[in-house]
C-alpha cells in the first residue's frame, strides 16, 4: 500500500520534472535569443565608434582568410571535380553534354560554393573563435582587458566579426574559381575541351542574377559565423568544460543559421527574378 503510494508520488514527480524541463528548455531558447539580439546591437554600437582596432582587424583577416585558403581550395577543387563527373551521365542521356560546363558553373556559383565554403568555415573558423574567446574568458584575459581600461568587446569581438564578414566572400570567390578549374579537369578526363572554350561556354550562360545575389548572401554567412562564434565564446562561463561546449555550439548554431540564411536568400532572390 505504502509502496504504491510512493511510486505514484515518484511518477508525478517525474512528470513534473519533465514538464519543468520542457518549460525551462523553451525559456532558455528565448533567453538565448534575447541575449544574442543584445549582443548584435552591442556589436553595431561598437562598430561605428572610435577607437578602431585596425591592426587587430588585419591580423584577424589574415587568420580567417589566408589561413583558410588551403582547406577551402582543396574542398572547392574536389567539389568541382566530383560534381562534373557525377553530372555527365545524366546530361549524356539527353545529349546535352555541351551544357555540362555551364550547368556545373551555375550550381557551384549559385549554391554549392557559398554553402560548402561557409560550412567549412563554420567548422574551422567558428569553432576556433568560440574556443579562443571562451578560454580567454576562463583565464580572465577578457577581465584583464576590461580593468586596464580597454574595451574588450571592440578589440576582440568587433574585429573578429568584421573579419569573417569580409573574408568569407573572398574565400567563396576563391573556392568558386578553384572549383571551376576542377570541373575543367573533369571535363577533360573524358573529352577534349580547351580552357578558353570551357570558360566561354560558362560565361555565355551566366548572368548577373547568377553571380551577385549569391555573393551578397556570403557576407551574411560570414557575419553569422563570426557573430555566433564570438557570442558563444564571449559569454562562456562554465570553466574549462565551457571551452569545448562553446566551440561545439558555435559550429552547430552557425551551420544551422547558414542554411536558414540560404533559404531566405533564395526566397528573396526569386522575388526579384
Amino acid at each position: 500500500m505504502d509502496k504504491t503510494n510512493i511510486s505514484k508520488q515518484e511518477e508525478t514527480d517525474d512528470e513534473d520534472v519533465s514538464g519543468n524541463k520542457l518549460v525551462k528548455g523553451i525559456e532558455s531558447i528565448f533567453v538565448e535569443i534575447t541575449l544574442l539580439t543584445r549582443f548584435t546591437l552591442q556589436f553595431f554600437r561598437n562598430l561605428f565608434t572610435p577607437p578602431y582596432e585596425l591592426n587587430e582587424l588585419l591580423k584577424q583577416c589574415y587568420i580567417v582568410g589566408y589561413k583558410s585558403l588551403p582547406l577551402v581550395g582543396v574542398t572547392g577543387f574536389i567539389m568541382g571535380l566530383v560534381l562534373t563527373i557525377q553530372s555527365r551521365p545524366t546530361l549524356e542521356t539527353f545529349g546535352a553534354e555541351s551544357w555540362l560546363p555551364a550547368m556545373v558553373a551555375v550550381s557551384i556559383i549559385r549554391e554549392i560554393g557559398p554553402v560548402i565554403t561557409a560550412l567549412i568555415c563554420a567548422g574551422k573558423v567558428g569553432s576556433g573563435i568560440g574556443a579562443e574567446l571562451a578560454s580567454m574568458r576562463v583565464t580572465e584575459q577578457i577581465d584583464a582587458m576590461e580593468v586596464s581600461g580597454i574595451n574588450p568587446f571592440k578589440y576582440i569581438v568587433v574585429t573578429r566579426i568584421v573579419a569573417t564578414t569580409f573574408m568569407l566572400p573572398v574565400l567563396v570567390i576563391f573556392s568558386d574559381v578553384i572549383g571551376l578549374t576542377g570541373s575543367f579537369l573533369a571535363v577533360n578526363i573524358q573529352g577534349d575541351v580547351s580552357f578558353s572554350l570551357f570558360f566561354s561556354q560558362i560565361f555565355a550562360k551566366l548572368d548577373f542574377m547568377d553571380v551577385i545575389p549569391p555573393l551578397i548572401k556570403t557576407f551574411f554567412f560570414g557575419f553569422a559565423i563570426g557573430l555566433i562564434g564570438c557570442f558563444k565564446g564571449y559569454n562562456s562561463d562554465k570553466g574549462t568544460e565551457g571551452v569545448g561546449a562553446s566551440a561545439n555550439s558555435a559550429v552547430v548554431i552557425s551551420s544551422l543559421l547558414i542554411f536558414i540564411i540560404d533559404m531566405m536568400a533564395v526566397q528573396i532572390t526569386s522575388l526579384f527574378s
Partner: protein, 262 residues
C-alpha cells in the same frame, strides 16, 4: 627623480585631481550574492592614501570577489563603493574606463594574453596613450620587466613561462600604468621564498616611489608581515578582525591568531 624616470611618464601622471581626496577607497555596506549564496554581507572598508592593506581569509571567503567589486568587474548588489572619490556604480563607461586606468589589478591567475609575447602584453595597457614613441615605449617595457627580474623573457610567449614567471609578468603589466591604487590578488602564491620576498619588497618600493595605495590578498604570512600596514580578516562576508600584524598576533582570540600562523 632621475632623468630615467621622467622619460617613462605616462599621461596619467599629469592627471591632477580636481578636488583633494583623503581616502583611496571607501566601502560601505557592500553586499554581493551569487544566486542564493551570499558572499559579501555588509562589508565596510576604508583604504587610506598610501596605505598597504592586507586581506586574509579562507579560500572561498570572497576575497577575490571583493576586489573585483572595486573595479566593477563584478556588480555589487548593495552598498556604496567609492574609489578615488568617485562612486563607481554611478559612472558611465567612459568615466569608468578612465578610473580603471588608475587602478591596477593583478589577477590571481596572472591573466596574460596568450596570443601575445611578453613585450606585447606589457605594451597592451599603454596602447591608448598616444604620447609615447617607439623608443620610449621600449624603455618603459624594459624598465618594468627589469623591476620583476624578467628582462630576458621579453620576447617569449606566455606559454613558455613558468607559473611564477607569469605572475611576475602580470605584475609588471599591471605596474606599467603607474596606478594610484593597486589591487594584488595573491601576488606571491606559487613563488619560491626568495622571489616571494623580492616581490614583497617590490610592492613596498612601488608604494615608496609612486605613493600607491594597495590592497593585497595573500595567504603568505611572511609576505603579509613585510608589507602590511594594516590587516583585515574576511570571514562570512564581513570584516572579522582588523589591526596591525602585531596586534592581531597578540590577540586574545585563538581564531584570529590562527590566521597568522606561519
Amino acid at each position: 627623480m632621475t632623468s630615467n624616470e621622467t622619460i617613462i611618464q605616462t599621461p596619467l601622471d599629469t592627471n591632477a585631481h580636481a578636488k583633494p581626496i583623503s581616502v583611496a577607497i571607501e566601502i560601505q555596506g557592500l553586499c554581493k550574492k551569487f544566486g542564493r549564496k551570499t558572499i559579501l554581507n555588509g562589508f565596510n572598508l576604508t583604504l587610506a592614501l598610501g596605505e598597504n592593506l592586507v586581506v586574509l581569509g579562507k579560500s572561498g571567503s570572497g576575497k577575490s570577489v571583493l576586489i573585483k567589486c572595486i573595479v566593477r568587474l563584478v556588480d555589487s548588489n548593495e552598498g556604496t563603493l567609492s574609489v578615488l572619490g568617485e562612486n563607481i556604480s554611478e559612472l558611465n563607461n567612459t568615466k569608468l574606463n578612465e578610473l580603471r586606468k588608475k587602478v591596477g589589478f593583478l589577477f590571481q591567475s596572472a591573466a596574460l594574453y596568450d596570443s601575445m609575447t611578453v613585450r606585447e602584453n606589457l605594451e597592451f595597457p599603454l596602447r591608448n596613450t598616444h604620447t609615447l614613441n617607439e623608443e620610449e615605449l621600449d624603455a618603459v617595457v624594459s624598465e618594468a620587466l627589469k623591476n620583476v627580474g624578467l628582462l630576458d623573457a621579453i620576447d617569449k610567449m606566455p606559454s613558455e613561462l613558468s607559473g611564477g614567471m607569469r605572475k611576475r609578468v602580470g605584475l609588471a603589466r599591471t605596474l606599467i600604468l603607474k596606478p594610484e591604487i593597486m589591487l594584488y590578488d595573491e601576488p606571491t602564491t606559487g613563488l619560491d621564498p626568495i622571489t616571494s620576498k623580492e616581490i614583497s619588497k617590490l610592492i613596498l618600493s612601488v608604494r615608496e616611489k609612486y605613493n600607491t595605495s594597495s590592497i593585497i590578498i595573500t595567504h603568505d604570512i611572511s609576505c603579509a608581515k613585510i608589507i602590511a600596514d594594516r590587516i583585515i580578516v574576511l570571514k562570512d562576508g564581513m570584516c572579522f578582525a582588523e589591526g596591525t600584524f602585531d596586534e592581531l598576533q597578540q590577540s586574545q582570540d585563538p581564531e584570529i591568531r590562527s590566521y597568522l600562523e606561519l
